[in-house]
Symmetry: C2
Subunit: 398 residues, 2 copies
């Protein structure tokens, strides 16, 4: 990163101390010395420097193991990170402590990404400012942000994002960094969601896993040996535009028959509206009349009311997602697949269909130990993952 990171770890040993304590909680100096294979004097010196940097603090006496008493090392109690997740039609922000526990949240459920960067980032900045002010935080140690489109991670800008008009090349990272005077990292929304599930969700012990987001769009975060894999141009995981049929429905990307055009949130709303208007589903027709427009969530509540047409929509979508994922399982041989995003709210009828197709179409060797599960963090996955992204940079040796 080009930024000057004030209060950033300076040595690999400091970095490893911070990461251990972030991921496992306060640890005794003795424990750290043995894990890092360095002397207690070295640990004391490095922790001393971390305290000066405002990153660590004394965590009180460790439980005695009979020998000499050791002192716990904890992250500085005042350390704060901010995670921002911009969705296609909503926005969430969260403030975390140094271990990425969420202390406070805010959301703008109606924020439309198509309003362009100045308006949308302006709203995000106002949300973050209020969150910080409400909790007396002057400056967070860093901010992570996820957006629903391809990103050039090195330069911190969106690159030709199909559903984000006006954002191509906009300096999101640098604009936020200037605004808050703190390091910022920008990534794709599915990448930060994958990081969130890895940090504190269902993928904690996974090594090579996929996080599949089914929201307005469909995308996939890829983790290889516990690190995000972004691909040669930063657009790895763009599975929403895998072509299922030559003559399928028109997609936002300009092609026809993409997975997303069959079963993204917009496609699902379209199919539900058609079913409501054609009289095939009384439940959906009633919901349409009440709300004026249908969303993926309405399909979920229709399923809850036992509507067969809504259930079939979920199953058809699940079958299509499953058949794409079955191929990716043969290719990537992951140890876990996590399904998240708004449409994942359809829940177990969707999941059951996805699973059944994957298990049927992939080789037994690749699926023998591979769970397919719903996101555990739900709406928090993105903001926790965004905080995790920037904490990795702040805790990394400079």
């Amino acid at each position: 990163m080009a930024h000057v990171l004030s209060g950033r770890a300076e040595t690999p040993t400091q970095s490893r101390i911070l990461t251990y304590v972030r991921d496992e909680g306060p640890l005794s100096r003795m424990d750290l010395a043995s894990r890092l294979n360095v002397s207690r004097t070295t640990v004391a010196a490095e922790v001393g420097r971390l305290v000066e940097l405002g990153l660590a603090e004394d965590g009180g006496p460790a439980a005695s193991r009979g020998g000499r008493r050791s002192t716990l090392v904890d992250l500085d109690a005042g350390l704060r990170f901010v995670g921002i997740e911009l969705g296609a039609t909503s926005m969430r922000v969260a403030m975390t402590d140094g271990r990425l526990g969420v202390l406070a949240r805010a959301a703008a459920p109606e924020a439309d990404i198509r309003r362009g960067p100045e308006s949308v980032l302006g709203e995000a900045i106002a949300l973050v400012r209020k969150l910080l002010a409400d909790h007396g935080v002057e400056r967070p140690a860093g901010i992570g942000i996820g957006v629903p489109g391809p990103v050039d991670f090195q330069s911190g800008v969106p690159v030709s994002p199909p559903i984000m008009p006006g954002w191509d090349g906009y300096p999101v990272r640098d604009a936020l960094s200037r605004e808050f005077g703190t390091p910022v990292l920008l990534d794709n929304d599915v990448n930060v969601m994958a990081l969130g599930e890895q940090h504190n969700g269902v993928a904690r012990s996974a090594s090579d896993f996929l996080f599949v987001k089914i929201g307005t769009g469909i995308g996939c975060g890829i983790v290889v040996q516990r690190h995000l894999y972004r691909g040669a141009d930063g657009c790895a995981g763009d599975i929403g535009h895998i072509r299922l049929e030559q003559d399928g429905p028109l997609c936002a990307c300009g092609n026809q028959g993409c997975l997303e055009a069959f079963f993204g949130g917009a496609a699902l709303a379209r199919d539900a509206t058609t079913a409501a208007r054609s009289g095939r589903s009384g439940v959906l027709a009633q919901l349409l009349e009440q709300r004026g427009a249908l969303t993926a969530a309405d399909v979920g509540s229709a399923i809850g009311q036992g509507d067969a047409v809504a259930l079939q929509l979920a199953r058809d979508g699940g079958r299509r997602v499953g058949s794409v994922l079955a191929n990716l399982v043969s290719f990537f041989n992951p140890d876990l697949i996590v399904i998240g995003g708004g449409v994942a709210g359809l829940g177990h009828s969707l999941l059951a269909e996805i699973r059944s197709v994957i298990y049927r179409q992939s080789l037994p060797l690749a699926t023998g130990n591979m769970p397919v599960v719903l996101s555990e963090l739900g709406g928090d996955a993105g903001v926790i993952g965004a905080a995790r992204l920037i904490s990795d940079a702040v805790y990394a040796a400079g």
Copy 2:
């Protein structure tokens, strides 16, 4: 590895010296000191130890740059690696120097993997013994071997390989290691072919690339940031069993409609034979009469004679491979795709079709800078890659 590696690098610095010299040729001590950011005294000491270990030697005076004369460091001229590639119906072995330049080759073009491990490995051992004896080599520094099926890399055994009856769980690595008294590593054939192209072929400067082998079977080696990616169970890249159609031809794996069942070498021979017998292709009919059975190579020579039916077989196959790869490009965003294996001998008519489908079906962002090319090393890719695999282990710090 459980083996004792005699003559193996002992420190990270030694390991880096060996790798630099392997990949770039003899380097001066001065150059090495500056690349490794250590003193010339350290380089001298580490090189001294490498000479004792039989891994490095004095490479004569470096070209003067006006200052103090420096001495070149080279790999020991007597260092030998062996690469073995077992195919479904053929076998190749090569002996290389320390930089993995091929010094001698041998092949058994009719070796059928289905004869089982004892017979096939016996033949491979005899080939290697003869190669070593012919060149007065007593013991190679290591042997790498690739086989046409999934492998548990950690334990060095094939795992449920569909086209290798009798090999499941057979201790290939340990049997060879005992036989030759030298370290051995076992991997999948496409993985070693990918390593070969990376070491000395068309993928030298690629970071995240795919090596697609179209031979008797179809498989894919995956390289992530210049390292092989093997997947959670070691079966990543198994794209031959991606399902294209529910009711397609029966595959060796027991399913129907797999890519391999449409266009592996066996499928191509089947389709060519049908075309010959039905009278649709006079050229193929003539070849069938001459040889008694058709192979992928015969389809290639029919194309060379302008046979439209053979050309259409190549195009149909290319279209199917291309459509699978287009999806993988969206998912993996590689910087290069290399096409190799026996069927790749169909050459440019096949390549043109694969390219055209990939470029048409993938997003421009992912394909803008992504070449799709034929293997440069051809039949040598596997044996060079197998030698590279074991050299990485021998040159790695113990």
